[in-house]
Subunit: 283 residues, 2 copies
Amino acid sequence: MALTEVSCNKIFGGLQKVFSHKSKEVGCTMKFGVFVPPQAEENKKLPVIYWLSGLTCSEANFIEKSGAQRYAAIHGVIIVNPDTSPRGLNIPGDSESMDFGVGAGFYINATQSPWKDNYRMFSYVTKELIEIVNLNFPVAEGKQSIMGHSMGGHGALVCALKNPGLYKSVSAFAPISNPLKCSFGIKAFTGYLGPKETGTWSEWDATELVKKYSGPALELLIDQGMEDNFLKNQLLPENLMEACKNVSFPAILKKREGYDHSYYYVASFIGEHIEYHMKNLTK
Amino acid sequence: MALTEVSCNKIFGGLQKVFSHKSKEVGCTMKFGVFVPPQAEENKKLPVIYWLSGLTCSEANFIEKSGAQRYAAIHGVIIVNPDTSPRGLNIPGDSESMDFGVGAGFYINATQSPWKDNYRMFSYVTKELIEIVNLNFPVAEGKQSIMGHSMGGHGALVCALKNPGLYKSVSAFAPISNPLKCSFGIKAFTGYLGPKETGTWSEWDATELVKKYSGPALELLIDQGMEDNFLKNQLLPENLMEACKNVSFPAILKKREGYDHSYYYVASFIGEHIEYHMKNLTK
């Protein structure tokens, strides 16, 4: 589990680093970002927030465009953001579209060939990456939350809902809230999990998972730009909110008038989300 | 002078727009960014800060990576950032290196063929762009300041020093402070202005220009990361500070320990610079 430091830049008094390592779960070299805030110099153990990015992203988009480091430096929290899929494997069909394969791992564990040996982003994020981070950075173990954007917003919800108690809190910017019911999700699940008839799709859909969650109290913080081009056909947050309402699952939907799906939108509210997670991480 | 809106994204309550237009000064279609803060909705006339980017940048880098919109929204200031050179002209030799031609206009007016008809970024920034901005946005005329990074940091200094009174204040992140004395500058000046013997180079070098400045009181705010790889061989801020000292030109050098030349560094201090300019713009 040796890490190679790819880059290190000082920002807002902390260090934004990128590491690469050989992943057992996904069977290739993976990169991830780690922002280490200035408070780490005081030999403190710090909480950590994981960020999962959306379709087409690598680890770079969040690091360069979200502006999260400013808030993380104020609050003294480590932020870790993995890549969105395995890379460099050259599996036939892995680079033909923006919504499947490279850059589109959907944070699930595939069951179908030729994807099942590598497209295991769920286990990578919820097990291997946490082990690596706990071993290599000054993390207060167990003090972790998760958030994400679009495909990664849904990924954050699924990671939290399938691992009760693992994360202290979860939030999502413009998540693909009900992949069973939108074309991005149907394409990904068909490829990674097989046809709908396999019956496994609902294990990877947040709107289905809230219905059978059992574990420590958890609240879903959903954030949504109201001028988001994907809102009506792909994101479907109303389906998730309806499911939450039906089973009395605590959920908040923050509607942001005039905002779209971009990192300009994410940058505008990432400070609020970090503050939200810190409240839960310091309880 | 018709403008075409290329993009518009809501961020921090304001609008980050990109426009394209046909430029008379540089003879091609140019793009520039404009952040219009939320205060514009109140029908107020607002101050404006111009940002000049560095080598290899388009208008996109600053917009995506600086995080400036957050501070501009708080202070109620418009931020305008042009591209760094003409584009799409296919002048032989304009795309062979990162430090000459496309992405490397150096904010000067070239005198040598084949550059002199188009590489007129100085006139573009200090005349044409200001006219366009004043005509199309709710600008309090005359309430303008200028700042920039690297090549654009030097560009900001030169624009201010050659136009006494035009800008209320000027600041520069890691400027190429004395282009006469570094390889980036010597290459650019040789290409755009001809050999040193023409005697024109000093008209475009901030360290020379402070020696003969005559006009309203002006202060140079110079910002410099101390782990900047270009510091010793290309940026030479100590030459500028020495020249300022010799002629009692007010200048401040802010040294930032541990910071490099990247937008991670710019993002960390852009808020301070905007605050500095606002103090001068609201005097």
